[in-house]
């Protein structure tokens, strides 16, 4: 019964449910953000787990770039994709070979918009760590400091959704919500053990109703959409004047954005507001990587393409708030028609388990109005496109030699409701296997509880 409450209590839950991401690079000794990914004080300690050289043969492969190979072979070793091709692709002898006949292979699924860890389950107040809703601009906060690695939702996303990478964002109460954390979906005792090595930080911003409601209700700026823009612009101007002599965590993050090293993920529903944000970004000298929850993106697909901004969207959410009133099922298809970048996202601990189905629904809506989008292209919406918008597309998001062996073997067409992940590899390590009941992560929280280790 929890999800129903989203609609019913959207007013109160909107902050928690509809957050966008944040960004920031903070460095110790310089205003430059050049060390945003490498010299963070909280560096990734993730190392790939051991994996055997593995070949999947005879499967239908969607490569994540929009390509499809029937009766295909994927071979990975040392945590990397070695080769991908047709049935004649050479595979070394005496390695693990899985017969993929009747099955499908995709890159690991990537969710660009998650609150796993910063709004974990159980969703009790003590776990509500996604919105530092005490000031309309908090570029100084970092989502990774809120992420609880024991959130049981990570394992569900892996086992049921084939999710191998995700971006955990701060919420959308604030115009500037803070830095995001890009994670590998691997169980870990620490968040550093999940951090995606080499991933840039993201910066979460939010348009529209949430910031003006949260702060307007407290009698402070912003209480209107024009107030939203005024606060944003002044904050950017102040950041541009920052000389870095005295460390300022907020301005270090903003400087990182202005230097192009931190990617902006902007929660924004309405088309007209997205257009204004893109102009603000030009004025201030930064770029929006993706608009999140962009339910009206279909109205400005041309503009989004020209500005090279992705739209991260749901397949069918609508109506829960005024700025979501014009959501339509054809949003993704209309964006694709304009050759704009489509990403299907979840913003939801349940939805992240079915991004493949959400993408299929969006595809079907397009087909109904005569926009035929290939299955392989639709898979790109949940693999390479989010990787690109998160700045990790050189490392993952597609099955190409040299890239991380983040791979899902599906027991059927991933765009069918009847298919589920059978095996999931992260950097070549088998971290979920539906055929092996122990090859499934169980979080600390679940130990000794009813249903521990269940298929879930």
């Amino acid at each position: 019964m929890k999800t129903k409450l989203k609609t019913i209590a959207a007013g109160t839950l909107a902050i928690a449910l509809a957050a966008c991401s944040t960004t920031g690079t903070a460095e110790a000794e310089s205003a430059s953000a050049s060390q945003a990914t490498t010299d963070t004080p909280f560096p990734s300690t993730y190392e790939p787990y051991p994996g055997a050289p593995t070949a999947l043969v005879g499967a239908t492969i969607y490569d994540g770039k929009g390509g499809r190979i029937d009766n295909g072979t994927v071979f990975f070793s040392g945590g990397k994709i070695v080769s991908i091709g047709g049935p004649d692709t050479p595979v070394p002898a005496d390695i693990a070979v899985f017969d993929g006949t009747g099955k499908f292979v995709t890159p690991g699924i990537i969710d660009i918009h998650s609150h796993l860890g910063d709004y974990p389950t159980p969703s009790v107040d003590a776990h509500s760590d996604g919105n530092e809703a005490t000031s309309p601009t908090t570029p100084e906060v970092w989502a990774e400091h809120s992420v609880w690695p024991q959130d049981p939702g990570f394992a569900r996303a892996l086992a049921n959704g084939g999710v191998t990478s995700l971006q955990v964002l701060p919420g959308s109460a604030n115009l500037m919500g803070g830095r995001s954390a890009t994670l590998k979906n691997v169980p870990s005792r620490t968040v550093q053990g999940m951090k995606f090595p080499g991933a840039p930080y993201g910066f979460k911003m939010a348009c529209g109703e949430n910031p003006k409601r949260v702060y307007g209700n407290r009698g402070r700026m912003p209480s209107t959409r024009m107030g939203n823009f005024a606060v944003n612009r002044q904050t950017w101007l102040d950041a541009k004047a920052y000389d870095g002599k005295k460390r300022d965590l907020a301005k270090e993050t903003l400087k990182g954005v202005l230097d192009g090293e931190i990617l902006v993920h902007n929660h924004c529903y309405r088309a007209d507001e997205m257009a204004l944000v893109m102009d603000m970004a030009k004025e201030m000298g930064y770029k929006v990587s993706a608009f999140h929850h962009a339910v009206e993106a279909y109205k400005i697909g041309d503009l989004l393409r020209e500005n090279d901004v992705c739209s991260a969207i749901w397949a069918d959410w609508y109506g829960f708030k005024m700025e979501a009133y014009d959501g339509i099922l054809e949003n993704a298809a209309y964006l694709q028609r304009e050759d704009a970048c489509v990403v299907i996202h979840s913003d939801d601990a349940n939805g992240i388990q079915r991004l493949n189905q959400e993408a299929a629904k969006a595809q079907a809506a397009g087909a109904r109005v005569g926009i035929d989008i290939s299955d392989a292209q639709v898979i790109r919406w949940i693999t390479l496109n989010p990787a690109k918008a998160m700045g990790i597309d050189a490392m993952t998001g597609s099955l190409e030699p040299g890239k991380m062996a983040d791979v899902v073997l599906w027991n059927g067409d991933p765009l069918s409701v009847y298919s589920r992940p059978e095996k999931v590899w992260v950097d070549g390590a088998l971290l979920f296997d539906a055929m092996d009941r122990k090859r499934r992560p169980v979080s600390d929280f679940e130990l000794g509880q009813p249903g521990e280790g269940d298929v879930k």
């Binding site: 389950t121 279909y298 939805g351 539906a434």
Partner: protein, 459 residues
């Protein structure tokens, strides 16, 4: 009168000139799923006459229907309309726009007496949008907010007419468990006490036509042991000053106490489910339905033995709260296996139009080692005939069988598959318009061409 329509030609034409009365329709060349739990039948046919189903099954046995409009289904699927329970369709326009939203009434002096029937808006966009998604009937109720009682729900059809409500005051809803604890003052103990008291007060109201508020206390024998608080005794003399319900609320609970109106009990935890079932022993006339029941699989045999049906969350698999630690997507499959009658809860998803997707996921589970799912026929029944039966419309809705209402949906493929779409919808034999705010936006933005005029002129 015979004429054949093809789908491509008919859609646009029918949108602007739909018949207002029931047509006699024969549909052939389709896969038929009747909703009764059986598997789909290929080469099937469905015949509607006088707004009712007269035949559904193999085309070979189809009776002749000379007055019918004959539709060649071209390999499509025909099913009963989906039955969504529980929902808030028709009670709101925009979730976060409070003035447009009648789901919660936390400031009301009333609780059980709240009745959605007079306020359901048949022109709500959500009714239009869900009709276009193949949902033809629904149970509608608000959310408990000022009390453990959410009030009285209605059964509606989603037809394009002014008359949505087919059964007002069809059920009452009470929150026990965590939700009830919060609403009743902070503890499950309070929810339990409030509930018992309410039913006893309703019983008194039934007997006396009023709630007595005068008289002395006194003791009450409970048997050999010291039993429950004597104030829980059942006579007005013993309960003299126990007046927590308004008269209106007490009156609303009389049919619940009599077992004439089903009581939907919202609980998740296994222990809370057991406590709810135990209430049946204390109040044997209760006609109970469990809603939520995320841990139902842990007590499946007890639920089955009680005969209480469940409207269960379909895909919950996270410990959303401490009352849902054991939640799993296999919950429904395991309960059904134990013999429980289970409908998929339309309120435990983003929108009720995700019902068929959820049902499809339960079918997918049958291929996962260690998981429990449903057969296609069972899964489809969980969004058609089973919720109809729980809603008191067994045999009339959610099923294609002779005598059932002429509610049917023509799909372009397997209705549980995420890639399938609705082609036509009939309610009571009347073909329904499928247009709504979303479809109009869809049509306007088919292209972004403003070379001659702004999009605002494209309508």
């Amino acid at each position: 009168m015979k004429r054949a329509l093809t789908f491509a030609a008919s859609l646009a034409a029918l949108a602007s000139a739909l018949p207002l009365a029931a047509q006699d329709v024969t549909i052939t060349g389709v896969t038929v799923a009747t909703g009764d739990g059986t598997e789909p039948v290929e080469n099937g046919a469905v015949v509607l006459q006088g707004g009712k189903v007269v035949y559904a099954g193999s085309a070979a046995n189809m009776p002749t229907a000379p007055q019918s409009v004959i539709i060649d289904g071209e390999g499509r699927w025909v099913t009963p309309g989906l039955f969504a329970t529980v929902t808030n369709l028709g009670l709101w326009d925009v979730g976060a726009v409070s003035e447009s939203n009648d789901i919660r009434a936390g400031g009301s002096p009333f609780s059980a007496a709240l009745d959605v029937a007079p306020v359901i808006n048949p022109a709500s966009q959500h009714i239009l949008i869900h009709r276009a998604a193949g949902i033809t009937r629904a149970a509608v109720v608000g959310s408990a907010s000022g009390s453990i009682f959410a009030g009285q729900g209605a059964i509606i059809d989603l037809g394009s007419d002014a008359d949505a409500v087919t059964q007002p005051r069809a059920f009452q809803v009470v929150e026990l468990g965590e939700g009830g604890a919060r609403l009743s003052g902070g503890s499950r103990t309070s929810a339990q006490a409030l509930f018992r008291n309410a039913l006893l007060e309703a019983g008194e109201f039934e007997r006396g036509g009023t709630i007595r508020s005068t008289g002395g206390g006194g003791t009450s024998r409970q048997g050999d042991d010291i039993g429950i608080d004597s104030r829980m005794a059942r006579t007005s003399r013993d309960r003299a000053s126990d007046v927590l319900l308004t008269r209106f609320d007490a009156a609303a609970l009389v049919p619940v106490a009599r077992g004439e109106q089903p009581l939907y009990v919202m609980v998740e935890r296994a222990a809370d489910i057991r406590s709810a079932l135990a209430l049946k022993k204390e109040f044997p006339r209760l006609d109970m339905v469990l809603v939520g029941a995320s841990e139902g699989w842990l007590v499946a045999s007890e639920i089955a033995a009680s005969g209480v049906p469940v409207i269960a969350d379909g895909l919950d698999d996270l410990p959303q709260g401490f009352d849902q630690l054991a939640s799993t997507q296999s919950n429904i499959g395991r309960m059904v296996k134990a013999g429980v009658k289970v409908a998929i809860n339309a309120s435990a998803m983003e929108n009720p139009r995700n019902l068929n997707q959820y049902a499809g996921n339960l079918v997918a589970l049958t291929r996962m080692p260690g998981a429990d799912g449903l057969s296609w026929g069972q899964a489809f029944a969980a969004i058609t005939s089973v919720p109809a039966e729980i809603s008191g419309m067994g045999g009339k809705a959610g099923v294609l069988a002779p005598g059932a209402n002429g509610d049917l949906v023509i799909w372009d493929g397997d209705p549980l598959e995420v890639g399938s779409s609705v082609v036509r919808v009939y309610i009571d034999g009347i073909e329904q318009p499928l247009e709504n705010h979303q479809s109009r936006l869809r049509d306007r933005y088919r292209e972004l061409d403003e070379s001659t005029l702004p999009e605002a002129y494209d309508w």
